[in-house]
Symmetry: C2
Amino acid sequence: MFNKIVIFGVGLIGGSFALALKNAGAVKHVVGIGRTSASLERAKALGIIDEIGASIPDALKGADLVLIATPVAQTEAILASIQAHLEPGTIVTDAGSTKADVVAAARAAMGEKIAQFIPAHPIAGRESNGPGAAIPDLYQGKKVVLTPLTENSSGDLERVMFAWKLCGAVIHRLSAEEHDRVFAAVSHLPHLLAYALVDDIARKPHAELLFQFAASGFRDFTRIAGSSPEMWRDISMANQTALLAELDAYITQLNGIRALLAAQNGPGLEAVYANAQRARQNWMSSIEAAEKARKEGGD
Amino acid sequence: MFNKIVIFGVGLIGGSFALALKNAGAVKHVVGIGRTSASLERAKALGIIDEIGASIPDALKGADLVLIATPVAQTEAILASIQAHLEPGTIVTDAGSTKADVVAAARAAMGEKIAQFIPAHPIAGRESNGPGAAIPDLYQGKKVVLTPLTENSSGDLERVMFAWKLCGAVIHRLSAEEHDRVFAAVSHLPHLLAYALVDDIARKPHAELLFQFAASGFRDFTRIAGSSPEMWRDISMANQTALLAELDAYITQLNGIRALLAAQNGPGLEAVYANAQRARQNWMSSIEAAEKARKEGGD
């Protein structure tokens, strides 16, 4: 049970966290803090938060847990603003899509209170955003990756894991660097590639004709290019090193496929395509098996 | 009304064409020809075809329309096998995903009967394949691109358009070269890029860890990498020139984005992402508007 939780950013991510804990009867009082009073009023009207934080010192008084669920570029300023007011028993966690930069920001901002900060990344999202998009089961069956610091106590870690489990999430642990390399490959690079393709097509003189004949394959391939440009600019910049490494590997891969195509090497091209198809089928099967096991386990 | 239609390849594409025309009461007799007797028996049992063609001369006797709906690499051999038996009143059309190569194959195989061949490409597909996947409304609201030859008569063209309209399709006309350039950009390149990404990840030493954290964005981005490797090898090879041009443009685009990222040029990166997001939103809105107009028009 949490007596008081403070949430910075009461949109989809923070709002869904609050709703899930409320649904589980696991939190008595939720305080919301945000940049626009309209969002905070909306979140209060929707029952996501119980109180709009009037000041940071007041909000933090007696808080068990603070969740920072704002765009990742704001994390350091928020940590700096709360540091002086943080009580010894309060745990701070976040929901940022990159972790090494968040850890660096936390070390810079938190000083001797760094042990109270537990970095986390819930792997969940929807097309829509804001308090109105928040739903209590957003995290049901989804992964949450914790990237604990050596300074974190096992008791605090347990508390954060407990909160996410109440939301229905499946907990994983990686180092911040592992996390960033993994998500550069399976999330940040695909976003960059999808944006790159749509921008490339949109800037062609016959773009209108091209879009006219784009069909469902194109729609799904580019769905993630509908994501927030500001958010993905921040993620790309925050994870620059790992993303550059993945992008370079991919450009090398494309140059290799280009050579096969230019040489009319049908078997070579087919081998690449077939390996991809096989790997994707195995991946889809393992997802379905894991989902089935999770549901049967009632977890 | 068609008295007799002959379909080469009674799978998803050919089978759905037959079912749609049967549903419309627009065909008396459908003859199927294929490589495996199992597929043909299945198609007959499902009511897709009325007769399994015993021989090409028999099948073509009195046929109004021949549809070639096999993998595109077989088109030339099929045209060569039917050429001598084709009656003057029979129209031949196809459903291949590439058109300049099909036109070249037709010119080589059809000789003085080339006017009877009308190249076409229905833009429709499903995850599944074979006669069991065929459905009568596959083409409802979908585009069919005709790439007519100068030799085609307007009467024959009208007949082919009439058949596709009975299937519920919306007819478009392009030159074969235009068609291939358009689909290289909006279909063939995205397939190649999706295959390339999954193959790239699958060959990394820590592939298992990466796939473990791939989520819904990755799933949609790579959906088309679940497509048939043989089919996409053939399409890539058949449309080599246009696909290489699009791939080169894309690699140039990636190198440009790489430079922005390496220089930590946030505004530059955001401009690319924002342009893509805006273009995709406009495209989605225009699709929805067109779909609404089509439904309201009862077309």
